[in-house]
């Protein structure tokens, strides 16, 4: 199963490398328009062709990778940053009002139709990458809170936690010192999954015009721009579509591979 991890890692690494490379070099300026050269199919000059404004698709894909990664990464960061402490707190005080409030709050967020809320958020604050991040990030919070709580609860029953309590440590300190490191594997795996979902969500929001705004290239908006031109210039939809699919595929494979590699049950077999 390490094959999955390698394949996923390679795909994700490729996308990351592309994004990083775009910081210092792209084949063309991704914002430079050349309207007479629009809708060129891929050729030697433009490896992935040009879009409806004659911009170089390859350059846009590279910079678009940066947008996708940045949005998804920060959204996962928000989800983890808020969700993990909430999950730890809920598990530390299982059954208390705090646990109840946190878990019911989670259910409530889950109950909201996420896309509708994202649209509302952008209607209130205007479209843009930051607001897309917030919209995606909010829905990541309950995911991480649940995973953390779910992973932490059985740990609280383990003897080593009891031993730490007998050693006089506070619940907060035990959460930080013993629980968090032991749910880290779960969080890494979930983080990878949420990261890939974040990329899909960013693409979806940009597709309906609510993500990163022009002139910042974004895969979702490239698809939205391409949609009426698919039959004229199929590469316009195929190129960003494949970029999204390969990135998400890579991240998911990596998540699966990590899960297998880090699965606590498998660890126990090795002990």
């Amino acid at each position: 199963m390490t094959r999955t991890l390698i394949l996923g890692g390679l795909l994700s690494g490729l996308v990351l490398a592309m994004a990083l490379l775009s910081l210092i070099w792209t084949p063309y300026d991704p914002a430079a328009m050349a309207i007479p050269d629009k809708l060129q199919p891929p050729d030697a000059a433009h490896w992935l062709g040009t879009d409806h404004f004659g911009r170089d698709m390859a350059s846009m894909i590279m910079v678009g990778a940066r947008t996708s990664i940045a949005v998804a990464l920060v959204a996962v960061g928000i989800g983890m940053g808020l969700g993990v402490p909430l999950g730890l707190a809920a598990a530390a005080r299982k059954g208390s009002w705090l646990d109840e409030v946190i878990m019911r709050g989670n259910d409530l967020i889950f109950a909201f139709p996420s896309l509708v809320i994202a649209i509302l958020i952008t209607a209130v604050f205007g479209p843009g990458a930051i607001n897309a991040i917030i919209a995606i990030g909010i829905f990541n919070i309950p995911v991480f809170a649940r995973v953390t709580r779910g992973g932490a609860l059985p740990l609280w029953e383990r003897d080593f936690i009891l031993a730490a309590r007998v050693a006089g440590k506070s619940r907060t300190r035990i959460s930080a010192e013993h629980i968090l490191p032991n749910v880290a594997n779960l969080l890494i795996v979930q983080g990878t999954i949420q990261f890939s979902l974040g990329i899909l969500a960013e693409a979806g929001l940009s597709y309906v015009g609510l993500g990163a705004q022009p002139p910042t290239p974004s895969w979702g908006r490239m698809l939205a721009d391409a949609q009426t031109m698919v039959s004229l210039a199929p590469h316009l939809a195929l190129v960003p579509g494949c970029a999204i699919i390969l990135t998400v595929l890579g991240l998911n494979l990596m998540g699966d591979g990590l899960r297998d590699a880090l699965d606590p049950r498998l660890r126990q077999v090795r002990r």
Partner: protein, 315 residues
């Protein structure tokens, strides 16, 4: 069970009350005025004021919130600002598309996913499993709107097997209705089926590791019999959870798909209403969706009880 029910109903009520406040607040602070939107650029301030008065927008926010919630409690969801028809009726019309679409997609998803998941679990680690899991990875990675675009391109424009979109209504007959919803349902079902197949597989694999599966084999059941008789029902709990989540997702999540196939569904109603600042429609429909999600979750919990006798003993 009774305790459980009461607690669930209580938390349901609290959730809905909180949701109504959140929804109202978010919708109300969105910039834009429905009256001005209706009247366009040449309207004069007194005309806008007259329309605002006619729509009841000149009242205070608290009064409007209370009127809205009070109305909903008595079954009145208000009247659309732009369409000037009762929201309840509009929603009922749209549900005729969205509900069957969600149901259709869910059925497709389950029909594809469960056999695929079972097949993969039964052949764990063998080429069949690898192929199915590879396909599900791909299914999850494909953005559904992109997939929808491709479906239209191939099946509606090139092959002309299906209409490119639109929905004539159920008056045109059940078959015509299903035919019109087939492509959208496939586009919606694909990623869901992929997720469900993975859940089915891993749930089954978990169950296969349980002691009672060994007991079943010791009785003389073949691997397949043990899987069917003892594995499936135990694996059903995580699968049910996901199915419940998916139904609520499908109900609201079809927005983009409804757009691509220009279906007169709930998602498109919300989209239109948001851009027209038809606040009451947005509020009521979002509320309804939240309600639907909570009710579906509740139904899923009841389904657990049907599946798992351990939960029945809570009385």
């Amino acid at each position: 069970m009774g305790t459980y029910l009461l607690r669930r109903v209580l938390s349901l009520v609290v959730s809905l009350a909180l949701a109504s406040v959140v929804i109202f607040a978010v919708v109300e602070i969105a910039p834009g005025d429905p009256a001005r939107f209706m009247l366009g650029v040449n309207a004069q301030p007194d005309t806008v004021a007259a329309l605002r008065a006619e729509l009841g927008l000149d009242q205070g926010k608290v009064a409007r919130y209370l009127a809205w919630v009070g109305g909903m409690l008595s079954g009145d969801f208000g009247t659309s600002y732009t369409y000037r028809t009762p929201v309840a009726q509009m929603v009922a019309d749209r549900l005729q598309v969205s509900l069957p679409l969600a149901g259709y997609a869910l059925v497709l998803s389950v029909l594809i996913a469960l056999p695929a998941g079972i097949y993969a679990a039964a052949r764990r680690g063998r080429p069949g499993d690898v192929a199915v899991m590879g396909a599900t990875q791909l299914g999850i990675a494909i953005p559904n709107f992109w997939f929808a675009m491709m479906l239209v391109l191939i099946f509606a424009i090139r092959l002309r097997w299906f209409n490119a979109g639109g929905f004539a209504g159920w008056d045109a007959g059940l078959w015509a209705g299903l035919h019109a919803l087939t492509l959208p349902a496939i586009a919606l079902a694909l990623p869901q089926a992929a997720i469900l197949a993975r859940v089915m597989r891993s749930a089954l694999l978990d169950v296969l590791g349980e002691d009672f599966m060994r007991t079943a084999r010791a009785k003389g059941l073949t691997r397949g019999q043990a899987l069917r008789r003892h594995g499936l029902r135990n694996a059903l709990i995580p699968v049910l959870t996901i199915i419940g989540l998916q139904f609520s997702f499908l109900l609201a999540g079809g927005i983009i798909i409804e757009q691509v196939f220009y279906l007169p569904g709930l998602g498109r109603l919300i989209f239109q209403a948001i851009s027209a600042r038809d606040l009451i429609v947005v509020e009521s429909v979002v509320m309804l969706l939240v309600f639907a999600v909570i009710v579906v979750n509740f139904a899923v919990d009841l389904a657990y009880v049907a599946v798992d006798p351990r939960l029945r003993a809570r009385s």
